[in-house]
C-alpha cells in the first residue's frame, strides 16, 4: 500500500489503544462506566471536543494555533439562543453562525498570512473582540433561553444505540481525512506546516490553505458551541473555556506535531476520546474538576515530549 505522508498511523493507533486501556481500567474501578447510557454520554462529550478540535487540527497542521476557539464556541451557543428567542428558525441560525464563525476565522487567517501577525497574537485578539461582543449581548451568568431543538435532538436522539451526533462526527471525520489525505489542499496544508519556504517555492498555495484552516476552525468552533448549548440546555459566557486546552491536547495526543506538518484528524479523534475517558475517570478517584485542567496540561507535555523522542529516534 502506498504511503504518502508521515507515518502517523502508529500514533493514532496508539492513541486509540491508550483510550481503550483507560476505558478498561475505568470499567474495572466502576462497572457502570461501561454501561450503554454512560458510553453514549462519553461519545457525545467526545464529539464536542472533536468538533472544537477539528479546526484546531487544521490550524495546527498548518503551523499555527487558534486561541479564539472558546469564544467562537460561546458565540455559537449564545447567539443562536438569542436568535431563537427572536423567532429565527434554528436551521437558518445554525447555518448563519457557522458562516459567521468561518468569517471570523478568515479574518484571523488573513491577519496571519497577509500581515504576518503571529497566530497567538492574532487569535487572542480576535477572541477578545468576540468576548467583547458577547459581553455586550449581555447575559449575566446564563440565559435559560431554550437551546435550539435541533441541537438537543442531535445529542439526545439515537440510531442503533448511538447518538445522532456520533454519526455526524463520523461523517466529518471521514470528510476531514479525505480532505487531508486525498486532496491537493491537504498536501499543501501539510507542506505549509512542515516548511513554509519549501511549500512556497514548490508552488503550494500557502496563503490560501492557511486562511482556509483558520476559517474552518472558526466554523467548526461555532458549530461545537451550538452542539454544546444543545446538550447543556443553557448558554453562558465561559461555556467554551475548557475547550481551548482540550482541543489542543486532543491534537497533541493524536500524534500531530504541535509545530505543524504532520498528524491527522483521526489522531485528534482518538485524542478526543482519550481525554473524555480521562475526564470521566477523575470522579472515580474523587478528584475535583480542577484536576481536568492539570490533566490537560500534563497530557500536552507528555504528548509533545513523546513526539520529540520518537522523532529523534526515527531520525537517528
Amino acid at each position: 500500500m502506498t504511503r504518502h505522508l508521515p507515518r502517523r498511523l502508529p500514533a493514532t493507533a496508539v492513541a486509540f489503544l491508550v483510550c481503550g486501556l483507560l476505558f478498561a481500567f475505568a470499567t474495572i474501578r466502576s462497572p457502570d462506566f461501561a454501561s450503554a447510557s454512560h458510553m453514549r454520554q462519553l461519545l457525545v462529550f467526545a464529539s464536542f471536543v472533536g468538533f472544537a478540535a477539528l479546526g484546531q487540527t487544521l490550524v495546527i497542521l498548518s503551523g499555527g494555533l487558534d486561541l479564539s476557539v472558546p469564544w467562537v464556541m460561546a458565540l455559537g451557543g449564545i447567539q443562536l439562543s438569542i436568535w431563537n428567542g427572536d423567532g429565527m428558525s434554528s436551521a437558518l441560525g445554525v447555518v448563519l453562525l457557522v458562516l459567521i464563525g468561518g468569517a471570523l476565522g478568515t479574518v484571523s487567517g488573513l491577519g496571519v498570512t497577509a500581515l504576518r501577525i503571529p497566530p497567538i497574537v492574532m487569535t487572542i485578539g480576535m477572541g477578545g473582540l468576540v468576548l467583547g461582543y458577547l459581553m455586550r449581548v449581555g447575559l449575566g451568568s446564563s440565559t435559560a433561553a431554550s437551546a435550539p431543538a435541533a441541537a438537543e435532538r442531535l445529542v439526545n436522539d439515537t440510531i442503533l444505540g448511538l447518538p445522532l451526533i456520533a454519526y455526524v462526527w463520523l461523517a466529518f471525520a471521514l470528510a476531514a481525512a479525505w480532505l487531508l489525505r486525498r486532496t491537493a489542499f491537504g498536501r499543501a496544508l501539510y507542506a505549509t506546516g512542515a516548511n513554509e519556504t519549501v511549500a512556497r517555492l514548490a508552488g503550494s498555495r500557502v496563503a490560501a490553505v492557511r486562511v482556509a484552516a483558520y476559517a474552518a476552525s472558526g466554523a467548526a468552533s461555532a458549530f461545537a458551541g451550538i452542539l454544546l448549548s444543545g446538550y447543556v440546555g443553557q448558554t453562558y459566557l465561559n461555556m467554551g473555556a475548557p475547550y481551548l486546552f482540550s482541543s489542543i491536547a486532543a491534537v497533541a495526543v493524536g500524534g500531530a506535531s504541535v509545530l505543524g506538518g504532520s498528524g491527522s484528524y483521526w489522531g485528534t479523534v482518538a485524542g478526543a476520546c482519550t481525554l473524555t475517558v480521562l475526564a470521566a475517570l477523575l470522579p472515580t478517584f474523587n478528584l475535583d474538576a480542577a484536576w481536568l485542567n492539570i490533566v490537560y496540561g500534563l497530557v500536552i507535555l507528555l504528548a509533545v515530549g513523546i513526539n520529540r523522542v520518537a522523532a529523534r529516534a526515527a531520525n537517528g
Binding site: 494555533l65 491577519g111 497577509a114 500581515l115 504576518r116 501577525i117 503571529p118 497567538i120 497574537v121 492574532m122 487572542i124 485578539g125 480576535m126 477572541g127 477578545g128 473582540l129 468576548l131 467583547g132 461582543y133 458577547l134 459581553m135 455586550r136 449581555g138 512556497r200 500557502v206 496563503a207 473555556a241 486546552f245 489542543i248 491536547a249 504541535v258 509545530l259 475535583d288 474538576a289 480542577a290 484536576w291 481536568l292 485542567n293 492539570i294 490533566v295 490537560y296 496540561g297 500534563l298 500536552i300 507535555l301 509533545v304 515530549g305 520529540r308
Partner: protein
Amino acid sequence: MSALAASVRDAGFVLKRLPRGEWGTPLLLATLIVVDVSIQPALLDVTQIGLLIQTALVAVLLATAQTLAVLARGVDLSVGSVLVVTDVLTATKLGGLEGDRLALLPLVLAVGAAIGLLNGALIAYGGLEPFVATLATWAIFDGVALLVLPTDGGAPPQQLTNLAIGETAGIPNSYIGLALVLLAWFALRRSPLGVRVLAVGSDAERAFLNGIDVRRTKLIVYTLGGFVAGIAGVYLAASTSTGVPTAGDGLLLPSLAAVVIGGTSLAGGRGGVGLSVMGVFVLVFIGDLVAALQLPSWVATVASAAMLLIVVSLRSLPQVLARKETA
C-alpha cells in the same frame, strides 16, 4: 550618581532613543490622558491617580513578565495562571481563619519563581517551543489554583492589604510600587544580564558566538517572569482582600496587548518594560474613559482587543510592504 538619578537620566535616555516610529504610543497615551482628565478633572489628584495606578499595577506586573519572555524571543502564556496560584495562596495560606502567617510570604513568591523555573527548564533545556511549554503550564496551574481555592474567597492578611492600598508619607503606595518596577527594569537593562537577554532574543546564534550561555539566560528570563507574575498575584489578593482562582484567564490578553502596544518587538531583542508600562496605561486609560463616559464595560474589552490587533498590524506593515519575498 545615585541609582534614582541614574534611572531618571536613563528614562530620558530611553525617550531620546525612541526611533521615530515609536512616538505613536507615547502620543496615544498622552492623548488619552488629556481626554480623560478633561472629562474628569477630579482625576488630577494624588489619591485619585494613586487609585488608578493601583488598579493598573497588576497588569503592569504581568506585562513585565510577558515583556521579559518576549524580549528573549519567546512568549509566556502562563502569566495568568502564576498569578492565580499566588493569589489563592495569599488568600488561604498567608491569611485565612487560622490567622496571619506573613512569614510565609517569601515561600509564596518562591512558588511563582518555581513555576517560571519550570517554564524555563522546559523551554531552554527541554527544547520545547515557548508557546507549548507555557500553554501546558497555563493549564496545569489554573487547575492547581482551583484546587487550592475552588471558589472566590479566602482572606489575605490585613497587613498586606494595608500595604497594598495604603500610603507612605502621604503618597499612595501604588506610586512606590510602580516606581519600584521601573527601577528594577532599568537596573536589569543596565546589567550584563539585561544585555545578554536582549542578545539572545535578537540573535541567539550570534549570542552564542560571543560566549553567552543562551540556555541559562532563557532559564533566568522565565524564572524572573514567574517571580514577577507571582508578585502580581499577591498584590491582587492583597488589594482586593480576597482570592479569585479564575482571575487569570482574562489577564493574558491585556499582558500581550500591553507589550504589543508599547512597542516591544515580538521577534525579540528590542523594547522593554518601560514601553510595556506605557502600553498598560493606554489600556487603563481606555478603561477609565469608558467608565467615565458611562459606557458599558464591553466597550473597554473590545477597545483593548481592537487596539492590540490594530497596533500589531501597523507595526507589521512596513516589513510586509518592503517584503523581501513574494506571496
